[in-house]
């Protein structure tokens, strides 16, 4: 889980793994590790989710953590434009370490869409690069399972 701080990485994991949401999650310091098994078609996959601390002026993401990652979610807060910039920087850094690796770009906080600074056209522009771009709301659960399932499917395709 990669992205700027407070974009909702921990909330997405909690929603996906435990099906819950809280407004009161504490900021992640270091790494939080969670696990979930998923079924994609006839196959099952054990996901070990590394929820990394957000990248901002207070904490930098240690690139050594991404070594060994099979794939990643690049999380953007739909209400904050600068979180897309952070995501893009992280994406380039990760690619320098991992090379071509499956990922999904996630625009989170779809429940606050009236406050969004991105239009559907903005999302289409990202998707036009050949990326998978999805909207989610960890609060309502919208799109959350789909994000993890899409990434899982892509991981299995590579096997």
């Amino acid at each position: 889980m990669l992205g700027a701080s407070a974009v909702g990485k921990t909330s997405l994991v909690k929603r996906f793994v435990e099906g819950i949401f809280s407004e009161r999650y504490l900021t992640t310091v270091g790494v939080k590790i969670d696990k979930k098994s998923v079924r994609v078609g006839e196959r099952s996959l054990d996901l070990v989710l590394w929820d990394l601390n957000g990248e901002d002026r207070f904490q930098k993401l240690s690139m050594s953590y991404v070594r060994g990652a099979a794939g990643y979610l690049l999380v953007v807060d739909g209400t904050r434009r600068e979180t897309l910039d952070t995501a893009m920087v992280l994406h380039h850094k990760v690619r320098a370490v991992l090379g071509e690796t499956p990922f999904v770009m996630v625009f989170n906080k779809a429940d606050l869409e009236e406050e969004w600074v991105f239009s559907d056209e903005d999302l289409r522009m990202q998707a036009a690069r050949g990326w998978t771009v999805l909207k989610t709301s960890a609060k309502t659960g919208t799109g959350v399972d789909e994000v993890f399932m899409q990434l899982s499917a892509r991981l299995l395709e590579l096997e």
């Binding site: 407070a6 435990e18 900021t27 270091g30 790494v31 939080k32 590790i33 969670d34 901002d56 207070f58």
Partner: protein, 383 residues
Amino acid sequence: MKRTMSSARLQPPALPQSLPALLDVAVLEAGNGAFRLLGKAPRWLRTLWPEAAAAEALHPESAFSYLAYFMEEARAVWAGEDGEMLRSDPWTELDREGHEWTLQATAMRLEGRRLLLISFPMTDFETVRRLLQEARNQGLQHHRLLKEIDKREVLLHCIVHDLSTPLAGIKGSLTLLRDDGQVRPEGEGLVRIGLNQVEKMQRLIREILATFSAEVQPLLPTLVSRDDAPDLLRALQDVAASMRPVAMLKDVRLRVAADPGGTWKVAAETTRLERVLFNLVENALRHTRPGTEILLRLEEVDGCVRVSVEDEGEGVPEELAPSLFEKFATGGPRPGKAGLGLYFCRLTVEDWGGMIGYEPRPEGGARFWFRLPRPSAGAGDVS
């Protein structure tokens, strides 16, 4: 002479088996392809990794995924010199009940032995997290405030372009109708009402613009030289002269009282000063009774110039007085007023280092006043 000791005397007594558990530290020693636990397992380890207490060959990276990453860096330490040590970042694991456990690992090489210690974070993890949380919350709050300011800018833009332009068109059309004599006598009153309403709307827009721009302007220093400083008496006389026709319509007298020999230069800027005076006089005109007088008095108080605007109306209800100079304080239902006039006055006067206030007149009515410092010699920053 070099003193030697027998190996029996060199061998220290073994540490108590329960010491690691008492210190909440899991001490593991790397062997051939696996680890073994030294001493008794602390309680948290028995919760998170129950097998650790019983099994002989342990693989901590299978119990704690984070360690798979950490081991790679730890190997360099274990292969290095005695006394080398590497501490991991904190990481958080969940137990079977979903409780979070934040841990930290330390790899060290000691007397040739390769040790892995797992414990609660050595640093004050909660303090660090609380500080980060606070800093990030403030960052988000800052971001929200910036967005609010942006929204206000958009609002101002709408007011200026979407309201002012059609209003100017309406005013122009009504003026042409009035001046061309194309309106029947019975319609003239309606045209006049229309023009009055348009002018009222335009005043309201000016008031809103003046207020919100005043919120920004204090950030910018206003440089006024003594020679350029406005004369408050002259400004007061100009404002009184411009408002006298309206006052006459309301059967209200406007009187300026000041020592003619006095000097009334103040540290201010003429346009905004006149706007402040205009707002106060207009406020008095709205609340006084016909057949009365509004007194505009100038006096010197404590080296400053004080202006008071006194009317003979009903005064301000006691409960409203404390919030008179706050934003959107209307003092009751008054159509067409946004409650920004006095707020603008306060922002502007305080911006210049002055003070503004209200007090009831002992003989009845209201007294609004403000005082401004005199300009210093030469150019000066009066913000």
